[in-house]
Structure formats: C-alpha cells, structure tokens
Assembly symmetry: C2
Homo-oligomer: 679 residues x 2
C-alpha cells in the first residue's frame, strides 16, 4: 500500500496530524477543560480528514473508477433501484431486483454457513416492531437523535449542525466581515460538534440565522429521533418503533437462550433481519438508507475469561489494522497478524481478535479486495461509553473508507440496562472454585397485613421490595429501628409508609457454590447493503480497449447466477440440448439463465458478463455431432474450452462452489479458440 513518492507528498500532512494528536494527549493528561479538549479533537479530525482525502486522491483504482457508469449498469440490469419510482420514489429506500436479490441472498447464505453453522451459533428471528420501554432501556429513545430546525412556513427540515456550519462559513467569507466576526465564526464551527441544544439555539438567535432556501424564520431546535414511530394495537396507547438494530431482540431473549444452551457460557447468538433509521437526509446510494438488512452476532462470555478456544486456527491471519494510536500520530495502517495484535494488547482480547479475523476471512471470500480492506479502531472520543474496544472493518470505495462491519466489546452494558428496567435477572451462573459462605439480607413482607392496609397497591409494594438492593435493605433495617416504619418510594414516584408490622429484615448465612455474573458481549455487526455496495464497486471492471463492455468479477460463490446457456444461433436443432442442460443444472441446484434471444453470441456474452455470470455454456454446430460437446467460457479471462456435454454440469458445479479453479480446467480440456464478436 505504501509508495515512496506518495509518502513524500503525505509526510507534511502526517506531521500536522501528529502535532495535533500530541496536543490532545497533553490536554487530556493535564486535565484541561472539556471544551478545550473537544476543540482540539475537532481540529484533529479535520487534519485526519485532509490527510485521508489526499491519500485517496493518490490511490490509483479510486482515480480510475467511474461511478456513473457502474450505477447506470446496476440500474439497467436491475441489481437495485429506487423504491416506488413510478410514484416519484422515496430517497433512502431501494428495491433489489433479481440480480441484487440473488447476490444478497447468496451473501447471507454464505454468512450463515461461515458463522452460524461453523460456530454452532443459536440463530434467532425477532420482532421488528418494538415497544417503547425496550428502546428506552437501550438508550435509543433518549439518545438516538439528531437536532434539526424547520422552516417556519414551508416546514422544510435542516440538520441543525449542518445549517449553522453553512451559515457561519458564509458569514465569515462575506467581504464586509470584520476580523473579529471571522474568528468568532470559525471558533464556533470548530466547537459545534460538542454543543448541546441550548447552545446551538443561542447561536441561531445571535446570528439571526434564517432558512437558507426561503429566508423565512426557523423554528426552535427540535430533537429529531431517528427511529420510525408507530402505534401497536388499536388504542393508540402502546407506542412502538421499528427497531434501529437487531441486537436488542437478542438481549431481551437472553434468559431463554442461556437456558437453551443449558446454562453454559460462552455462546453466540446470530440474527439476520431488517432495521430502520429515519435519516434526515439519506444519500450515497446504498450506504446511507432508511431500511437495511443487518446480520448481527452477540457472543456472550465470562467477563474475566475472554480467550477463545479456536483462536489458534486464525492466529496467523494477516490483517491491516489502523489503530487509534496510528490515527492520532498521522501514521498509516499497519499489517500484522491477529496473534501479534492480541499479544501486544492492541486488540483487547482473543474473542474480539477471533471475530476480527473471521470477518476478514469472510469479506475476502465474498470478493472484497484485501488492499481495500482495513480494520480501524475507534478513538476513545468516538467510542460508545459502554464499549471497551471497538474496531470497524472498513472497505475502500469511491465515497472513501466506509464502515461495513462493526466489531465491539460492549461489555455488560445492554444486559445491565434491561435488567435495571425490568427487574429480571439477566445473569449466568458460574461455578465457584470453592464454595463460600455469604450473608444474605432480604425484606420479608407480611402479605396479609399489607393486603389489608394497601389493597390493590399491595402487589406493587411487594414487587418493589423484592427489587431492593443490598444497600436499600440496610436502609430499611435502619429506618425500622429508628422510626418503626419505612418510607418506600416506587418507580412512578409514589411513596408508601410501611409500619413495622408489615415488613421485617431477615439476615441469614448461606453456602453458595456458584456466583452470578452478567456476561460480557462481543458484537460483530454486518451492514449487508454496505458490504454489497463495496463488493460491487471493488469488482467493477471494463474490458481493455472497450470501455463500453463492463462486468463484475464477483466470485462464483456469491454471483447471482452461476452459469449461462447460450445457443450459438436460433437453429431449432439446438433447442433439445439447451433444455436438457437447463434441467440438469436445476437438478444440481445451480441457478442459471438461458439466453436464446437474437443478437450475436458476443453481444450475449457481454450481457451475461454485465450480470456477473461466471461461466457460460454454448451449444454450437459441433454439439450436434457425436460425441456431443459444448464450449465452457470463463467470464474473467474470456477463455473457452471444449468439453463433453456429459461432463460439463459436474465441472460447473465444482467451479461454482470453489472446489475447482479455472486454471485447472485449462490444463484438463482443450482450449477453444474462437474470436468473440462484440457487435
């Protein structure tokens, strides 16, 4: 990846990143104020972006790639296209046509084989419609939002940070702007990333910012939650959302899954399904959409035991890692084996490392190019507060490096949140090396008296008492001793005064053989649409000397169709052979396409290349003679061999599942030398 000439160009930009990275470190170690650190981090990000943009400009395949040409092909051959186009279309929603759908379904079935089956994961399929309390506990109701303002008259929406940035940049570029104004504006733009709603509202007012399209007044800032809201059931009282990720469905089923696994840790759960995010302004094709398919794994393990029994199998996997440290220093990504990365502590533990290596292997198998794949570590300021290490598998596209798979150690965050919200103990039992004696405190309610005193509230009180923590129970004891009553405040804010005869605190000693632990979760999360997009881009090619003839070099294992069957012409004698070949391919479950339309054979080959069909069987006049033979063509090299009709199906099957390579075919069968005619 590194080229000395390119490095000379990049050296000064790398130095600028390093300088700023060091400043951030210094501020942090000196305990500088939060706003100063944020400002420095914003500048660091800016410098990183300048470095990365320049790096990409100097990358040859990014320079030559013609996105418009590829998009035209994807549309024309209906890999995918905008949904509801005859109704004007909806941005951020796509329909997958026959080729896109087959590609997606092949990727998913390989994923199942590669992850679920290989690791004997528990695969689940959970509801999409999710009631509010679940997403309240997960943090999505409160935090999964962007700030926006609306044009007070037209209702047009703007993302608030983008709006302020554009307005102030315009202001500071105005020729009448004083130096003071300029520096004030620049200062705000740098700090925007860390500002809250009130601070941004103040800036709107101070600079009298109006709607950029109409000049109309703007509304106050609104927190726009990115989840699609709806109501479940007819009452209008049960608020629900379309899930923004599939993971929560797994966490809420943790108890059932642990039980299914006979109570044992570690185990992994997989789920493939759709999620939804109501983006304010979706763009970049399949990369930022409102409806998307994810494949997620939640690997539950003992927080103190994150080694992985199969780590040795992947230890030698060589990967491109772009550590947080390298990012702060302006260095480029480095190639290391995952074993070195885990040993040196760069990757937090074996389980995380194991999954990173498996993700790497999976992406290469489906056709991602190794030179266009890196794992980037989240820097401490971009990591979710609950994660202890997080690496994104990023694929290089014409949009830059795009996050396609996230791989995070989420610690015990999610299970703890749902446990706190429901009172259900989402824990596993771990056998202690030696039994131990513990003192147990519990509040024992006198149900009869409570029932008489509090009637229908008695149940609420008893439930609340059962949820008290050890500290709470100590308080109960103390209060009862001092005042002969205990004042219990429940979740909805109501308070009940419980006289001494209604409850008592019981302390006992108990010998325990197990301890309860909340498992840690390692989560590899695949964005299938993004992976597909990167895969298509990285496999898009045009024939040398004929830019009009484009094709995709997708590996046969994921190619939408495995084989084409083409009669050389519309001679009726070819038909029985075509029919038999088609039936034989169906029998061995190979998807294929017969193209008996008019048009030269070369033109029809070009059509099959466009939809990435890796192999093509042609029936010609020699086929009619005995022994019956056909030609077999390879998409990537356009080479053909002559092969007996009785053998060809088995050969295509072996090639398609990857048990045989085209190079072997060339050594076994005679080359068929006929010029392809393009027109």
């Amino acid at each position: 990846m590194t080229n000395p000439e390119v490095e000379v160009e990049l050296a000064p930009l790398r130095a600028l990143v390093l300088e700023q990275g060091n400043l951030v470190r210094e501020l942090k170690s000196n305990g500088a104020s939060e706003i100063d650190i944020k400002k420095a981090v914003a500048e660091l990000k800016l410098r990183k972006k300048i470095l990365e943009d320049r790096e990409l400009e100097l990358t040859p395949n990014v320079v030559t790639f013609d996105r418009a040409r590829m998009e035209d092909l994807l549309k024309r051959r209906f890999f995918y296209d905008q949904s509801f186009a005859i109704y004007g279309g909806i941005t951020g929603q796509y329909d997958f046509g026959p080729m896109g759908c087959a590609l997606k379904s092949n990727i998913l079935s390989l994923w199942r084989q590669f992850f679920s089956l290989e690791e004997q994961m528990l695969e689940v399929d959970c509801s999409i419609l999710t009631p509010e309390p679940v997403l309240k506990a997960s943090g999505h109701v409160d935090r999964f939002a962007d700030l926006m303002v609306k044009d007070a008259e037209t209702g047009e929406c703007f993302r608030l940070d983008h709006l302020i940035k554009n307005a102030l940049e315009k202001l500071s570029k105005d020729k009448n702007a004083t130096r003071e104004i300029k520096s004030e504006c620049e200062d705000i733009v740098v700090k925007l990333d860390g500002m809250n709603k009130a601070e941004m509202a103040e800036i709107l007012n101070k600079y009298k910012i109006k709607s950029p399209l109409t000049g109309n007044d703007l509304t106050e800032p609104i927190e726009f939650n990115l989840m699609f809201a709806t109501q479940i059931g007819p009452t209008g009282l049960v608020k629900g959302f379309l899930r923004p990720e599939t993971a929560q469905g797994i966490f809420v089923n943790f108890k059932r899954l642990l039980e299914f696994n006979q109570g044992k840790l570690p185990f992994a759960v997989a789920q493939i399904g759709n999620s939804f995010r109501n983006e304010i302004s979706p763009r970049s094709g399949l990369i930022r959409v409102r409806e998307f398919t994810m494949a997620e794994i939640e690997h539950f393990c003992d927080p103190n035991q994150k080694d992985h029994p199969k780590f040795d199998y992947v230890a030698e996997t060589r990967m491109t890692l772009y550590s947080a440290c390298n990012q702060m220093d302006g260095n480029s990504a480095r190639q290391v084996t995952i074993e070195e990365a885990v040993k040196s502590g760069l990757v937090a533990n074996q389980t995380l490392g194991y999954y990173m290596a498996r993700i790497h292997q999976f992406l290469l198998t489906i056709g991602i190019k190794s030179e266009c794949l890196r794992f980037r570590q989240h820097m401490s300021n971009e990591m979710a507060h609950y994660a202890c290490d997080c690496w994104d598998a990023e694929c290089l596209t014409s949009y830059g490096w795009v996050e396609c798979v996230g791989c995070a150690d989420r610690s015990a965050y999610d299970l703890s949140q749902h446990m706190a919200a429901t009172g259900v103990r989402l824990v596993a039992e771990k056998r202690l090396p030696t039994p131990k004696v513990v003192s147990v405190s519990e509040v024992v309610p006198n149900k009869q008296i409570l029932g008489k005193l509090f009637r229908k509230d008695a149940k609420i009180i008893i439930d609340a008492l059962a949820k008290l923590t050890l500290d709470d129970i100590k308080t109960v004891g103390d209060q009862l001793n001092e005042t002969s009553e205990y004042s219990l405040t429940i979740a909805d804010g109501n308070t009940f005064i419980l006289p001494a005869d209604t409850i008592s605190v019981k302390n006992t000693n108990k010998t325990v053989h197990v301890e309860e632990i909340i498992p840690s979760v390692v989560e590899p999360s695949f964005g299938i649409g993004r992976i597909m997009y990167a895969l298509l881009e990285q496999n898009f090619q045009c024939r040398d000397g004929d830019e009009q003839r484009c094709y995709f070099t997708l590996p046969s294992v994921v190619a939408p169709l495995k084989c084409s069957i083409l009669p050389l012409s519309n001679n009726a004698e070819f038909q029985p052979f075509i029919r038999k070949l088609s039936q034989a391919l169906t029998k061995v479950e190979l998807s294929h396409k017969v193209d008996d339309s008019s048009g030269s054979i070369g033109r029809r080959y070009a059509r099959t290349d466009e939809i990435a069909i890796p192999f093509g069987i042609t029936v010609d006049f020699d086929t009619l003679k005995k022994p019956h033979t056909v030609t077999l063509r390879d998409r990537n090299t356009m080479k053909q061999v002559r092969i007996d009709i009785s053998e060809v199906i088995e050969v295509v099957k072996e090639l398609s599942v990857g048990r045989m390579q085209w190079s072997e075919i060339l050594t076994k069968y005679p080359l068929f030398e006929q010029q392809e005619v393009t027109k």
Copy 2:
C-alpha cells in the same frame, strides 16, 4: 376420509346446508334484493360452520391432540415465544428461537429451490415502508379497515361488529325481552356482516349500547385501518405504512421486471419478506399475528393465454378439492387429479391449476399430511371483486381448517390500479398475427403559447393533456369546434381554459405490429408462520405408553438440526471422536448438536427428539475399539444400527437430503439392540 358411521351422523347437517344453498341460488336467479341475499348467505355460513364443527369433532387425530402439551414444549425448547416477554410481552408478536428460526429458514430455502429456482422466477426484495399513494391505489388505505368503537373514558377498543353482536345476543336472551325485541335482534345479527358505518352507528344509538367492561359511553364508530402508519423523513409530511402484503412491491416494479425478462410474457416474480397488520385483537398463536413472513409469487401472463407449458408434469397430481359448489350443497371435499379439475372447468385455467399442484407437492414435501390438506374454493360472495377464481390451501389444525396458502387469479386489477394512479403504462407488448392499421388521435400542445399564458402551470397542463383517453380527445375536438376553447380539469380539481391556438387535435393512421396488453396475474401467496404452525401440530407425537416423551416427526429436509452426537457417558476417551464427528458434519454443511451434558443416554435421546433431530450418532465403548464404529439412531422408529465411523457422515448426509431412506439403512447395516432407558 369418509367413514360410513360418521356420514350417517353428518347427513342431516349436510341436508340443511344443501337446502340453504339452494335458497341462495334461487334468490340470486330471481334477482332478490341484496339484503335478502346477504341474510340467506349468513344463514348458509352458519349451517356450514355447524357441519364443519361436527365433522371435526368426529375426526380422530383432532380429538387426541393435546395443544397445551405441544405449546409447552414449543416454549420450553424455544421454538418460538411471545416477544418482549420480560417487558410484559406484546400480543400478536413472536420471536423465533434457535429451533423455530432454523425450521423457518429451512422451509424458506426449500421454497426457493422448489419455486424460484425450478421455475427460474425473478426474485426481488422490496421496501417494507411504503408511501401512502401506493397503498391508496391498491385499495388498502380505503378498504383495509375494521370498524371499532372506544370506551369514551378508558380508551379500550372493541371491534364494532363483535360488540353489537354480543350486546344484542345478550339483549335477546334477557328474560324480559319481548318476542318482538328478540326477533329484531336476531334479524340485525344476521344482517351485520353487510352493514356500513352509519347503519351500525344507528344500532348503537337505538339500543343505547355501552362499553361491556365499564358501562361507560362509547365513541362514534371509527374506521380502524389495519396498517401500521408512520412518517417517512423528518418533515412529518410524507405518510407511510408498513406494507400489509409483499405483492405491491412487485407490481410497482413491473416495468423493470418485464424489461429484465426482455419484454417477454409469461414470467413469474417471487418475494420473501415480512408484512404487518395491526390486528385489533390478535389471537390463536402464530395464526393471527401482527408481524409475519410471507412468500409470494406473481405470475404475469397474457389474459387470453393461461395454459402452462409444464402443466403435463403435474397433471396426475391427486388433490382434495372443496369446490364452491360442494360447499353450497353440504357435500364434502372430493379427491380429483388437477387435470380433471381443469378440464371440467372447476379450476379456471392451467396456470392456476399448475400452481395449486405445485403448492400441494411443496406442502407434502415439508411434512403436511395429505389427509389434513384441502384446497377450498372461494364462494362468489367471499371472493375479492377483482379475482376470477381463488383457492385456499387449508391445513387441518386444532383451530379447524386454517388458510395457509392463497392461490388467486387476480386478473389485471393491480396493474390497472397503479397505471391509473401514476399514468405510467404497465403493459406488455404482444405481437399481432398480422399488422393492422389504426387511427391515432393525440392532442398536440403549442408549448410556446402555453408557456406564455400559464407560466409554471404549463407543464402541469401538458402532462395532463398527454394522459387524456381517446374519449377525452374526442371531447377536446368537439369543444374546440364549438367554442374555440377547451376547459381542462386536472387531478387536483383546478380547471384551465385553453384557447384554440394553444392546442390542436391530430388524427393519423398508423400501422402497428404489436398490441399492448395489461397482463393477468396469478398469485400464490404463502403465510409462512401459519404453515409452520400447521406443520408442527400435524407432526406432534407422544411415544406409545409414555405420554411425557413428545417429539416432532418433521422430515429431515426441514428439521432444525439434522443430527445429534452423543457420548454414551462423560468418559474422556470419547471426546476426540465427538470432536472429529462434529467437524466432519460441519464440513458437509449438516447442522447438528453435541449433547455431552450429564444425564442418561435415554434422557438425552428424548431431548433431541423434542427438537425434532431425525438422526443421532452415539459414541460408546465399542467406538474405542478398531474398527471404530458408532450407532446411528432414527427418531421416528427409535431403531439403531451399528456403522463404521468412516461411513456414518456420508450416510447421514444422504438421509438428510432425502436421497436415502431409513428402511434402506436397516437392510444395509446390522441392527443395534440396546434398550433405551428413559430415566
């Protein structure tokens, strides 16, 4: 299916249905009033129900089936369970656990093979979130609704027809009710099915019906649309729904799909995906839910050419058909070949018949019992107004006969609707036997003058002119002749007066070689959850003499896991064999489960039976000796054979994909006679 003793019991009930069926026919042929026909049909339905209920009571397997026991097993081994249970759960939503998810995914992948691959269908994957105009055109916004009322104070919801029915039945049973009141109430109950909102509101008022739970007042009747509504994008202006069926995604992509098929008819499009219906009160487990997976096929064909090239392959398929005529006459369903059914005109055409036969074959392949499967024809009064014939594949369960697959000839309805709504021509071209000359009329706008006169409205006017029908164009010509202007009313109701110099009508003759046709659609539509439920029920068994040991006789092709591997005990010497067997099964892509937990071998067999694992390999002390052998066990017969460890994987593979039967195994390998110990 027929049993003389049972028939004696049923004869009088059949006679009552026949009598009423004849009455309905007579009323219709005499042109009786709509309300009289409705009343007679309601009575017919009632009598049919009494007949069917009695028929089911006399069916032996329905009598012995223990639903509670099966549901307990499904929950305990997490086939599926209520979603979000730790949050109190949501009715009508289910999560599929590892076993349910694997079963579902096996059914779907077999479906793909059986339909998509075999017929070379175009499979698509369309958006779930659907903007309002699409579902307005399809009729769902206006008609996909139930009437309900709310308790004015608590907000509790009631389906209006159920509420009135219950209230009036109670009223007429009251001991003070006069004969007049009684007969009035009964009359209303019979007519309810055909009443509109205003009529029902009147009844609410007349009988002063209150909330049955609280006695509170009720709101006015509300049309409750069964679609989940949400907003797409941040403005709140784009109303959208979760799709209530997957079919519309295919129709709106018709042009792209026709083009993909190079303009040729017929072709079929398949889609597997989730749909959503906000049921007012979901119940009956998986049978009526709010979120469900469908697999739908839309087969587009020439309306005048509905024969099917592969019909001969299925002609001999013998199926149980329950025709509309048999239903009206009180007769039972009849077994006929699909060839007879199409020839006699009972099934409308070959294409519909072909799909019915394929659905039949598919359901038997996955394990539906032929004696518990019938195809019921919709009677004319229950058929959607656009369909020309419709048959439901119904599976017998403890809930009665449940519709699992619909198979309808939808004619050109959907494409016509979307064409009318968008102005996009959703048609195919059909070559004429001989070219013909047609006169063509079009309105030619003078864009320059229109632009000057109407400015920004000019485009709207020109677009509207292009959409005028032949009749409209004739009117334009007439108006221009008479008044020298034309008054154009556009979709939003605005009217523009167009002077004679802005438009002219051009009539020309044109030789055409093709005609445009709107294709007919034959739609097989599979409810995957319902099929799964029926499949589980029909395959649920308990061991003779041990009612506690339940199992599912699912065919291996859909069984969640194909094989178990059990060490006889926890002897460490077994471990290397277990590991090798597991790796070998993974290599040939066979899902399996190692159960090395403590517990007797019999108990562990019982556990694997519960999750329907068809084959089990046991490693015992003889395995340690050379030549290494294991035992292989069949779930259904509980028989075991002794087999060489080097052969067992291949044998299990052959058994699992159905290339070999257990009966063959018994002839090839020595029986292993060891008593299973249950405890």
